[in-house]
């Protein structure tokens, strides 16, 4: 298939679906709209599969299937798309989670048309973020996502939906405004103005140290990092997440945890690291510290929750801490500027990427399982559950699998990412590695304790016991798909590693070279100053 058409179709197929849905469907015919919206997401998923299996070459490290069209030539803005090993897995994850959460959207009962339209627009935004190679375009898609998300939480959410929605919006907007300023910094500092928004060319310039001076790199990196850390979310800017997750309807929680959080990590690895390698390395310790704090803090916070969904939300903070940790374990020999144990850093990067995919699957699964039980008994109080394993054995079994995946049990997807990250952290700083590893124990603690309170026990004593009906076909299919993937990725992680590794090594090498150039520049300046 023509790559230009394929990539464009992946981004805009959901929008086209949304348009058809908005104009042609009768808003009383709920089932038809649901099926049509589901079909749209399924087609998008199919297109991404075609992209992965048919067009994408796993062993090529560089950018593939690049598409360039003029958009605003006066401002050097291009419609520039492409995939590499870093974005490919996330594109797949996005289309998969979108399809599954659209499947979970049968539980939405009011204003179905509006919901479906916004949902599909959201998918366009997400796809665009992962496929855009022009900073301007990236920014546009990044912001386009906010609008539907605000309404999806604000209209279809729980009791404190309005508060949660505005909090989510404000946090992300604050971050993206910082990103905007950083974008201007890059634009005005490129030697070739025509490439001012071209992420590939900007990264190449950064490799030779000619993009930004070391001090400017630190400034730009901090701005980008805050923007992405809010999305990730990392301590201390994570506070929007528990509110947004708890108030959002189940399918939207799945999207939030499964895809939106990944954008933070993706932004760091696609934009912040390649464009400001010196800044990234300069702040590596700070980032590692933030990552470790997020892991431990998130786990302790999860331990303290009595709301089932809030527990899963805090587990996301903890798990995404591993992503940040894996990205940041970049250790340098201060004298020569060379990277020490480069293969460990690459291992950390791989682990972080894998953790993003694994968390996308396990946390979407956990949120879905919470949603299933909430749809039946309309509460989420951990202390009022118990005995669900007896009443709904299939549900209990699938839940146990997904929660174990989140816990990081060997053989399931969560294990691989965590272990890679913790191993590479050891080479960075053994003490921090021990702290990070102890997070695994806390994770086991809150997950096992939650499972004990919800699924085990003699009998269910909470409200609405009569509504505890077994899962229907649709629900079983969604949970089953997620669990199957969790197992497959846990047993054969190479499916993803094969795709990711070449591009990640390339990125790491480029960043190392960029750092060395900038550090050499800095040394020269100092020598001149001494003279």
């Amino acid at each position: 298939m023509n790559p230009e058409f394929l990539l464009t179709a992946i981004i805009f197929a959901p929008s086209v679906g949304a348009l058809i849905l908005a104009l042609l469907f009768d808003s009383k015919n709920a089932e038809a709209m649901r099926l049509f919206a589901f079909a749209t997401t399924a087609v998008t998923f199919g297109l991404t599969l075609v992209l992965w299996l048919g067009e994408f070459q796993s062993d090529a490290p560089g950018m593939q299937l690049e598409v360039v069209r003029e958009w605003i030539p006066r401002w050097n803005v291009y419609y520039r798309l492409g995939v590499d090993g870093i974005s490919m897995p996330l594109v797949l994850l996005t289309s998969l989670i979108s399809m599954l959460s659209m499947g979970a959207s049968w539980s939405i009962k009011k204003h179905i048309k509006g919901y479906m339209v916004l949902f599909l627009l959201l998918e366009t935004g997400m796809m665009g973020v992962f496929l855009a190679l022009d900073f301007f375009l990236f920014y546009v898609f990044w912001e386009v996502m906010l609008l539907p998300m605000y309404f999806l939480i604000g209209v279809w959410g729980g009791p404190r939906k309005e508060y949660a929605a505005i909090k989510f919006f404000l946090y992300t907007l604050a971050g993206s405004v910082l990103m905007l300023v950083a974008m201007l910094m890059f634009y005005f500092n490129t030697s070739v103005q025509a490439d001012g928004f071209n992420l590939i060319k900007l990264a190449e310039a950064a490799t030779t140290g000619s993009l930004l001076s070391p001090s400017l790199q630190i400034t730009a990196f901090i701005m980008l990092f805050i923007g992405f850390a809010i999305k990730l979310p990392a301590f201390p800017v994570h506070t929007w997440l528990p509110d947004a997750h708890v108030e959002a309807p189940t399918p939207i929680s799945m999207i939030l945890a499964g895809v939106l959080l990944k954008m933070g990590g993706y932004g760091i690895i696609r934009i912040a690291f390649p464009l400001c390698p010196y800044g990234a390395q300069y702040l590596a310790y700070a980032m590692v510290a933030i990552g470790v704090i997020s892991i431990i803090y998130g786990a302790f916070a999860a331990l303290a929750q009595t709301d089932f969904k809030r527990l899963v939300a805090y587990s996301s903070v903890s798990h995404m801490g591993y992503v940040l940790l894996g990205l940041a374990v970049w250790k340098i020999n201060e004298k020569t500027g060379e990277t020490m144990n480069s293969e460990y850093w690459q291992m950390g990067l791989n682990g972080a990427m894998f953790q993003m995919i694994a968390h996308g699957i396990s946390s979407a699964g956990m949120f879905f399982m919470v949603g299933v039980i909430y749809d039946r008994v309309h509460h989420r109080d951990l202390n009022k559950f118990g005995g669900l394993m007896g009443k709904m054995p299939l549900y209990g079994g699938l839940s146990a699998g997904l929660f174990f995946a989140g816990l990081g049990l060997p053989g399931l997807c969560g294990f691989i990412g965590e272990v890679f990250v913790v191993l590479s952290t050891w080479s960075f700083n053994p003490a921090l590695a021990i702290v990070a590893a102890s997070g695994v124990i806390l994770t086991a603690g809150y997950i096992l304790w939650a499972m004990q309170r919800v699924y085990l026990g003699a009998e269910y004593k909470g409200p609405h016991p009569e509504d505890l009906t077994p899962m229907n076909m649709r629900e079983t299919a969604i949970a089953g798909t997620l669990l199957t993937l969790a197992v497959i990725l846990g047993v054969v992680p190479a499916i993803m590693f094969n795709v990711m590794t070449p591009s990640i090594s390339r990125m790491a090498k480029a960043a190392e070279a960029g750092y060395q150039q900038s550090a050499a520049q800095l040394n020269q300046d100092e020598m001149q100053a001494q003279r």
């Binding site: 605003i72 030539p73 006066r74 401002w75 920014y139 546009v140 912001e143 386009v144 906010l146 609008l147 605000y150 309404f151 604000g154 209209v155 939906k161 309005e162 505005i166 919006f169 404000l170 907007l173 604050a174 405004v177 910082l178 905007l180 300023v181 201007l184 910094m185 634009y187 005005f188």
Partner: protein
């Protein structure tokens, strides 16, 4: 030269250059006369005045288009002084004529949809509207300090009357009175400033100001210790006060919320867009006329930084004050103040850049700054008029302009709500709407000006921060419309998708979206307008 020869030359210049260059304004004047004459002979019973007005505004638009074509066909950049140098006819002028005629047309369309004014008052109202528009056009094309004053007054006086047009309503009269008193004060201050500038520099011709300023500065220190420069600086400051009043910049903004609340939404929309646009045209001309005089660079950069400071204060104040508003027009008034602040950032960047030593090398960035300002104005036209139009249309059903009267409106007229959503998100500056492109252009210029003076980085930081601030109150309105339940006793607002009102607002929203997705065409036109002001 003998007197008859002089007379001949004047006549031939007037008929061959000045009058064709002034055709748009003449067309609007003729429409005023036609509207008043038609009432005299009772013709307005048969042909509603709004129809005459629409025809007049449309004819003006056609004349502008002809001027555009003529200027586009010329080989060199057109910059013609007309009426013996009182006005200037260039692409910039024509751009503003197009802007104002288009806006006039849209405002007339809105007023005839919402029924303010009724047919009896039509000729009065439309005469005022046309008169103000002519004044604004003169402001944007002024090449003489005298015309600057004439333009400002010609635009202001009809505005006072329009604010008080709802004669029976007490708040309306109060607002008009407040507006008049403030306006008169500002006009007096401005006139004094003009007399200082003209007195020291010996000319009112704006194209000579920079050269005369350079002569005045020659041999001196170039700073405020030079008495001549001190007097001129005071004069510039006072003229700026007058313009700041028109732009409702802090601390000269007090009239704005009251006037907007008292006036009808249609008039408020006119004031917030057109009168800002005219004032910006004038401000850009004045800033460039004063720039580039040798010896005064640091003084002018200081002026630019000062304007940047005012811009920061204005945006922040406007956004924060909008938080607690319960009346939607008042909220939009504060939003107008904040947006004037964003746009003034461009003027500040313009002054800083065109007075730097690298001004010649930065010409392209200077052009970009003006281009960004013009683009922002155009987007602002659609998004702000869209917001005011929704308020006006809903008011005709609910008889209220309170935010609460919009509760749960999405259930009854989703079109109005979605248009409001697009306009408000564009006002916040979110892609893919036009407001984002405009804002980005202005921030980029201010960022570039940071190369010259560090304070411009602070300006960018304030602009970025304010984008976040502004989200809160815009989204509160949207929350009310989309998420609250409509109270059972609320008056219904049945505006269907096919109705004329819906088509009107949807067209405005479509332009907001279009300007965000395809900025190329308009930014090229705005760029050409900016190019015609270029000095190097």
């Amino acid at each position: 030269m003998l007197f008859p020869q002089l007379l001949d030359k004047l006549i031939s210049e007037t008929t061959s250059l000045s009058l064709p260059g002034f055709s748009v304004e003449l067309c609007l004047s003729a429409t005023i006369v036609a509207m008043l004459m038609m009432r005299l002979v009772n013709l307005d019973r048969f042909v509603p005045t709004s129809v005459t007005a629409v025809l007049g505004a449309f004819a003006a638009l056609v004349f502008t288009w002809l001027q555009f074509r003529q200027i586009g066909a010329a080989d060199a950049i057109v910059s013609q002084k007309i009426f013996t140098g009182l006005l200037i006819h260039d692409t910039f002028t024509v751009f503003f004529r197009a802007f104002l005629s288009l806006f006039l047309l849209l405002t007339i369309a809105l007023t005839s949809l919402t029924g303010i004014p009724d047919n009896e008052d039509g000729p009065d109202f439309y005469s005022l509207l046309f008169g103000a528009t002519i004044g604004l056009m003169i402001m944007a094309s002024a090449n003489s300090l005298l015309m600057l004053f004439v333009g400002v007054e010609m635009a202001s006086v009809p505005s006072y009357a329009m604010v008080g047009f709802l004669k029976g309503r007490k708040p309306s009269s109060e607002a008009a009175l407040k507006f008049v008193v403030y306006g008169a004060g500002a006009a007096g201050v401005m006139l004094y400033g003009i007399s200082l500038i003209a007195g020291v520099l010996g000319t009112v011709d704006m194209s000579l100001l920079a050269a005369r300023l350079g002569e005045a500065a020659a041999g001196g220190t170039g700073g405020l210790s030079d008495p001549e420069l001190r007097a001129v600086s005071l004069g510039i400051l006072l003229v700026m006060v007058g313009l700041a009043f028109k732009l409702s910049l802090v601390p000269f903004h007090f009239w704005c919320p009251d006037a907007f609340e008292g006036a009808s939404a249609e008039v408020a929309g006119f004031l917030s867009v057109a009168s800002k646009a005219g004032a910006f045209g004038l401000l850009v001309r004045l800033a460039l006329a004063l720039s580039g005089a040798p010896g005064t660079e640091s003084l002018m950069i200081a002026f630019g930084v000062g304007i940047g400071f005012i811009a920061c204060v204005t945006t922040t104040f406007g956004n924060l004050a909008a938080y607690s508003q319960t009346n939607l027009k008042r909220l939009l008034a504060y939003s107008t103040i904040a947006h004037a602040g964003y746009m003034v950032m461009a003027v500040s960047a313009l002054l800083v850049m065109s007075n730097s030593v690298q001004a010649a090398a930065m010409q392209i960035d200077i052009n970009r700054t003006v281009e960004g300002l013009l683009y922002y104005l155009f987007v602002y036209l659609f998004m702000n008029l869209g917001a005011f139009a929704v308020v006006a249309i809903a008011r005709n059903h609910t008889f209220s302009e309170e935010v609460d009267s919009f509760k749960g409106l999405v259930g009854q007229s989703p079109t109005l709500c979605i248009v409001m959503l697009i306009c408000m998100f564009s006002l916040v500056g979110m892609p893919p709407f036009g407001g984002f492109v405009g804002k980005l252009m202005i921030f980029a210029s201010a960022f570039k000006a940071g190369d010259i003076h560090w304070f411009m980085y602070v300006v960018v930081a304030f602009g970025a921060l304010n984008t976040v601030f502004s989200l809160v109150y815009y989204i509160r309105v949207l929350k009310t419309m989309f998420m609250d339940e409509r109270p059972a006793d609320a008056r219904p607002v049945p505006v269907h998708l096919g109705s004329l009102e819906s088509i009107y607002v949807v067209a405005l929203a479509a332009f907001v979206l279009l300007l965000g997705l395809l900025p190329q065409f308009l930014s090229a036109t705005a760029g050409a307008a900016a190019q015609s002001l270029a000095k190097f």
